[in-house]
Symmetry: C2
Subunit: 115 residues, 2 copies
């Protein structure tokens, strides 16, 4: 079975405010309670995760992730209420888009080589 993939990205200035990787990272931070544990879960460096969080926080009106004081890697991090809202809206976009094309995607898939 071929499952069509839809990737949605919301650009802002020269950054991507939110996209597939950032949304997954937000969820990983929410689950693990820190940027470093979220990064590990995603298989990315702490620096890379921090850069993505920084891009999100700078792109939106309010921070999506708040960090506790206590050193660069020390304190925990959590997804703010605002961050939860952005994440839910983003996941909703993915779902709406996916449902909207379901039947047309099936028609296109029918033109694929049988496996």
């Amino acid at each position: 079975m071929s499952t069509i993939s839809i990737k949605i990205r919301l650009p802002h200035q020269h950054l991507v405010a939110i996209g597939p990787g950032k949304a997954d990272l937000l969820e990983a931070i929410g689950r693990s309670g820190s940027i470093s544990a979220g990064a590990r879960e995603m298989g990315m460096s702490y620096k890379r995760a921090w850069d993505l969080v920084d891009a999100m926080n700078k792109s939106f009106r309010q921070p999506l992730v708040s960090t506790a004081t206590g050193g660069s890697h020390g304190g925990g991090a959590k997804v703010t209420e605002f961050g939860q809202e952005v994440l839910e809206r983003y996941r909703q976009l993915e779902q709406i888009a996916s449902q909207s094309i379901a039947s047309e995607a099936q028609a296109l898939s029918a033109l694929l080589q049988p496996v």
Copy 2:
């Protein structure tokens, strides 16, 4: 203004049967009448373009691009009727998905930092 980007990919076996780059390449080949001119227009190597065409042709039931005989780079190429159908269906998917999320995307964009 932030315009949300939607990228749709249809996987088949270990390949992507069609996605944004392949669709653009199909159009470039259609316009230019050859794989090498299409590749040039897309800023990619002939080999890369040929690999993408090969992946498309192998993934679908019928070829999307047919090449005239006359040497590897020599003959022209054209998008088959079947290729046109796949391309139109793919562009339609993009349009449906984009329209389906328009109002929700605007609501998400409203949460971005004003510029």
